[in-house]
Structures are given as C-alpha cells and as structure tokens.
C-alpha cells in the first residue's frame, strides 16, 4: 500500500472524527488509536502513545500529535493529510456558523448563545485544570509545583514559560 493511499484513508477518517469531536479533539483520541493501531495496524500502541506524549511536550496545540501519527505511518504526505483532516472540517464549519446571522453578536440569539456559553467554557477550563492536577500529581512535589504556578501566574507578570521550563527540568532530574 503506497503512502498516498494511506494518507488518503487517514485523511478521510479524520474528516469524520474531527467533526464529531465536540469539546475538543481529546475526545476522539481513543477512536483514532483504535483505527490506526487496532484496525489498520499502521503503527504499534507504543508508537501511538509515544507520539501522543511528544505532542504534549512539543510547542503548539496538543492535537499536533496527529501530525506525528501521520508522519510515522505515511511520511510527509501523511503528516499533511492528518493535520488537514483534523483541522480543516471544524474550522470551515466554525466560519460558516460564525457568519450565520442568528449567531452574530448583533442578533439576540447570538448574544444569548455567547453569554450563555461563557460560564460553561470557564467551568470546563477549570475542570480540565483539575483533571490535569489529579492525573499527574501523584506525589507532593507535583502539587506544590501546581499551587506555586497558580500563585505566580495570578500575582506576578512573570512569563510562565520559565515555570514550564523549571517543571521540565524538575521532571528530568526526578524531582516531580
């Protein structure tokens, strides 16, 4: 099977998966894994997990791990196909919806939807922070790092990149 065929199949699959990923693409990670690992045997479960981990460490949106998945199984064509399949359908839909009159900030319905969703968005943001806390901080240094970060970010103008770098170093030398 050529790279082109694999890239095309992956692209088509992601067209659908990206459009059902309401609330963020993290929700379809298991479906993607099932497809590329279990169904197609394009990569191993370890390779997939490693690609996912690298996607979290790399700068940029977390969903960019999909680029690495595409690249691993079908080279450059796979990387482009995977990224495009994941991103293009949702952003096109977003642009269409945003253009719709009833969704515009000038329309009453648009204002109601926007202001109604705002607190839910905030609650979800805090929830994802909370889920991160409970899934990573198994030992007290992790909790300390999290609490310190909250305080520093709320109280100072320091660039949080330094904190992230410090966290990475602490992880590598085995502190966290």
């Amino acid at each position: 099977v050529s790279h082109l065929q694999i890239a095309w199949a992956l692209f088509v699959r992601l067209l659908f998966l990206s459009l059902i990923a309401i609330g963020g693409v993290i929700t379809v990670v298991p479906d993607i894994q099932r497809y590329v690992v279990d169904t197609q045997h394009w990569m191993t479960a370890t390779q997939f997990a490693d690609a996912f981990a690298l996607g979290q460490v790399s700068p940029g949106p977390n969903m960019m791990y999909i680029t690495l998945v595409g690249w691993t199984i079908a080279g450059w064509m796979g990387a482009v196909a995977a990224t495009a399949g994941m991103v293009l359908p949702p952003v096109l839909l977003t642009l269409i919806v945003a253009r719709a009159r009833s969704f515009s900030p000038q329309a009453k319905l648009g204002r109601a939807i926007r202001s109604g969703l705002a607190p839910i968005t905030l609650g979800l943001m805090l929830a994802s922070g909370w889920i991160l806390v409970t899934s990573v901080d198994h030992r007290w240094p992790g909790y300390v790092a999290t609490v310190l970060t909250v305080i520093v970010v709320l109280r100072t103008k320091w660039n949080p990149l330094w904190l992230i770098a410090a966290g990475a170093v602490a992880g590598v030398i085995g502190l966290i």
Binding site: A51, L54, G55, P61, A112, A118, T121, L124, L126
Partner: protein, 198 residues
C-alpha cells in the same frame, strides 16, 4: 469610524465592538498566533489568553470567553476554532487563514523534528520525564487562566451556577464532556435569552 449617535443604545455590544475594532493586518495575525503556538508547551489556551487579552488587548476577558465558548461548542480543536474566529473578526477570511497558519506551521515543523529524533534515538524516557514535571506546572497555568477569565463574567448567580455545574460535572464527577455540554448549553443559552434586551 462613526461616533455613537444621540439616542443610540450606548450599551449595545455591537456598537462598542465596531467602534473599538483595531486595524489588524493578516501578517500581524500570523506572527501573533505563531508566538502563541511557540509558547504553548503543554497546551496553547493559556497563552492565547495571555497574548490576546493581557498583552495585545485585542479582546476583553468577556469577549475572549465568549469566543472560546463558541469555538468549544463547535467540534474540532478549540484553539483552531478560536484562531479562525478571531482572525475572521479582525481581517476577514485572509485573517482567518493567517491566524490558523500561524498557529500550525511552526508546531508542524517542531513535531516532525521530534519525530526524527524519536526515530533516531528510539527512547522517549526523556520526554516522559520532562512531561511529568511540565504537566504539574501546566495544570497550575490552566487553573490560573480559568480563574483570571472569571473577571469577564457578570456578577449574577445564574452565570456562576452554570460555571459551577460544568466544573462539577466534568471535573469532579467525570461525566462525558459531550453530555454535560449538550445538557447545559441549551439551558444556559435559554436563560441568557430571557435576560437579554431585545
């Protein structure tokens, strides 16, 4: 830009938005979103808030939360949806394309560079060790950003109730996000509709 005429509803968000929209070129959108993407270790959302609201002041807290909410209601990567909404708002379709490209191009290259290193050295023990430390910090960053964004919300019990319900449902009870959003969103929008002046 027209100044508000006498008799025009000064609170109208549409008017405010139109009269304060800065002139932002697609190239600026590209470089700004590139900067957000390059800072975004462990996730880009906190950086989008930091740059767009605190540094550049293109959006208020409230506008940021509302735009993000729309991007979250729709499927796909939230941050990409947010980028095209903001790009489109300031500079039309070229702006949307520029913001999205800024967000994706450098991370795309970085990701493949990581892939090459991974293939050559085979072990990602290093990445996993770094990740465990970074995740603790990123969790704090996400929480702090969420707390900051509460500044943009009106002080009404209805608003805070929906925020708390979303947090409890997804964060504490671990219900599926889709279910929580599909149940809460229509109720919240309905309640907001009742309060909106027509």
């Amino acid at each position: 830009l027209a100044s508000p005429r006498a008799g025009e509803d000064i609170r109208s968000e549409a008017t405010l938005r139109r009269s304060t929209t800065p002139d932002i070129k697609p190239l600026t959108l590209f470089t700004t979103f590139s900067g957000i993407a390059l800072s975004g270790f462990g996730g880009t959302l906190p950086w989008a808030h930091r740059v767009l609201v605190e540094r550049r002041r293109w959006l208020t807290d409230r506008e940021f939360v509302e735009t993000l909410g729309l991007g979250q209601l729709l499927p796909g990567p939230n941050i990409c949806n947010l980028a095209v909404l903001i790009g489109q708002h300031f500079a039309g379709y070229p702006g949307a394309a520029a913001a999205l490209a800024g967000l994706l191009v450098t991370p795309f290259v970085c990701m493949i560079a990581f892939g090459v290193l991974y293939q050559r050295f085979g072990s990602i023990h290093f990445a996993q060790a770094a990740l465990s430390g970074m995740s603790a910090v990123v969790a704090g960053l996400v929480l702090a950003t969420g707390l900051k964004m509460t500044r943009g919300l009106p002080r009404q019990w209805r608003v805070w109730t929906f925020g708390a319900l979303a947090f409890v449902g997804v964060g504490l009870l671990r219900w599926p996000l889709l279910v929580v959003v599909l149940v809460l969103a229509p109720v919240a929008a309905g309640a907001a509709w009742r309060d909106e002046p027509s």
